[in-house]
Symmetry: C2
Amino acid sequence: MGGDFGPAITVPAALNVLKTETNLNLILVGDQETLMHALRQYGGDVGPRLSIHHASQRVEMDELPSQALRSKKDSSMRVAINLVKEGRAQACVSAGNTGALMAISRFVLKTLPGVERPAIIYALPTITGHTRMLDLGANVDSSAEHLFQFAVMGSILCNSVDGTERPTVGLLNIGAEEIKGNEQVKQAAQLLAQSDLNYVGFVEGDDIFKGKVDVVVCDGFVGNVALKTSEGVARMVAHYMKQEFTRNALTKFAAWVATPVLKAFKRRIDPGRYNGASFVGLQGIVIKSHGGADVRAFANAIIEARIEVDHNLPQRIGHQLESLLIQRPAV
Amino acid sequence: MGGDFGPAITVPAALNVLKTETNLNLILVGDQETLMHALRQYGGDVGPRLSIHHASQRVEMDELPSQALRSKKDSSMRVAINLVKEGRAQACVSAGNTGALMAISRFVLKTLPGVERPAIIYALPTITGHTRMLDLGANVDSSAEHLFQFAVMGSILCNSVDGTERPTVGLLNIGAEEIKGNEQVKQAAQLLAQSDLNYVGFVEGDDIFKGKVDVVVCDGFVGNVALKTSEGVARMVAHYMKQEFTRNALTKFAAWVATPVLKAFKRRIDPGRYNGASFVGLQGIVIKSHGGADVRAFANAIIEARIEVDHNLPQRIGHQLESLLIQRPAV
């Protein structure tokens, strides 16, 4: 039900994914009548692979997570996560309120043993492919220990989902300071250097998009700012380009000639290509779609969930985290 | 002498600026012989408006600030800042090592009374014009009080240099947390809300480039990551665009037709347009040019220095900070 557009996006996306992913079954969670209506509107219907699970409430996009947790026990978000907890669904995908989704996921599913804080991880496009970055906003004031755990979880996800052997891990830092960075980052660097991870050192903001490492680790405040900033720049660049190409008849002609190139370019910077942030560190799979995702982008978030199910991601993180934490030297 | 290219950039930039800014005199600080050679190479010479001040050492780009401070007492950087201290120059412009430049500036010039930490402020392009953001890397672990002081200094600079009456101030934050952000940001928001500044509230990473506020305030770690990230995205987008337009004969033809549009677009996202970060909070004007600046970008950094001199920026910040700090409620 969530996101900026609700079932107008999620329902057609679900129908599209069912066509391409033939081993996948979906449960739409939300107001039965609204969902049934949307299903019919987009030429679909319930059946053996698609069902509706009624939920009488919804979490609003600006609702406080604590309030959603306390007073929205029959919200689509809560009910969907309950289905994962009960093993009736293997993953939950939502475009709704991020804070509420994290709070409810954490409360219902619980963190994996040894995980102090779950994190949000997301694939960002780079010049060479993509890089996975975490945390993107689940935590602020992360300690060195938290940053270390993020690195472990990011590394396992990258290995499982992307198939990368020994993914390279970089710690996001700044270059201008005396002995670079703040205390937490410096201590995390020591933990990482002594670990079994393929830690390659500090990376700076501009290294993210060079594809210098497979996994970029940072505090959630920093990561969220970096993510939103990069979205802002991409949007501004697109705005400038549109302005320049629509300035007059001549520039419009140039745009017409360049249409295939501009389309190819647009596809490459399309944020929907990489939609679907994962909540890692939980005993269950929860994928957060961008609130403003379109049909194709939301479909990508569903596919991301499916990939993580195929790889038993939480179990793998749980196992490997346990063995890594045992090997880990004391801070 | 500094930056990635040394006198090959700084000398022709100085010569160009002298032609357009007729009330400006420049002193080139560095190795006399090298500078004289570069001057002649670019068709210039010393004269009443352009002199050379010899310095026997140089701070390397990767040198530790503390080491530069201790052992490079005759470096071009140190000598140039000494000239400002002695009143023989009104501003120092450098493309060198940022950390060393800040450490030496702080040591030689001292901070303004009441200023706990100087900050780095820079103009970033937005959809509507530009916004000034600080701190961009001089500080990590900024307290609420530091963030408040950054807001005051940014506000005064924006008022003086851009002529903006009561500049709007936003505090960089994230949206995903319960009661948004970390402790420092929450406390700084309280200080700002009770102050005389035109504080409009929290902004997120993507708001920076919307031009939502005139001044964006943040900790230096966060600001540096945001700045570098935005540079990285812009570079990636340019890379993608080049790839798409050079893919084959057809796309190259499209690029040829679109040349004027692409040039206009390039001008708009050109980072050199806004080159010249200011160190604010010091008893003197120091401008840091991007290390990789080209001739035009370095010239812009010199012009930024000139504007700040015209506005007596440090004195204005000093006066207004004093009165604002007196009015300021206790934390």
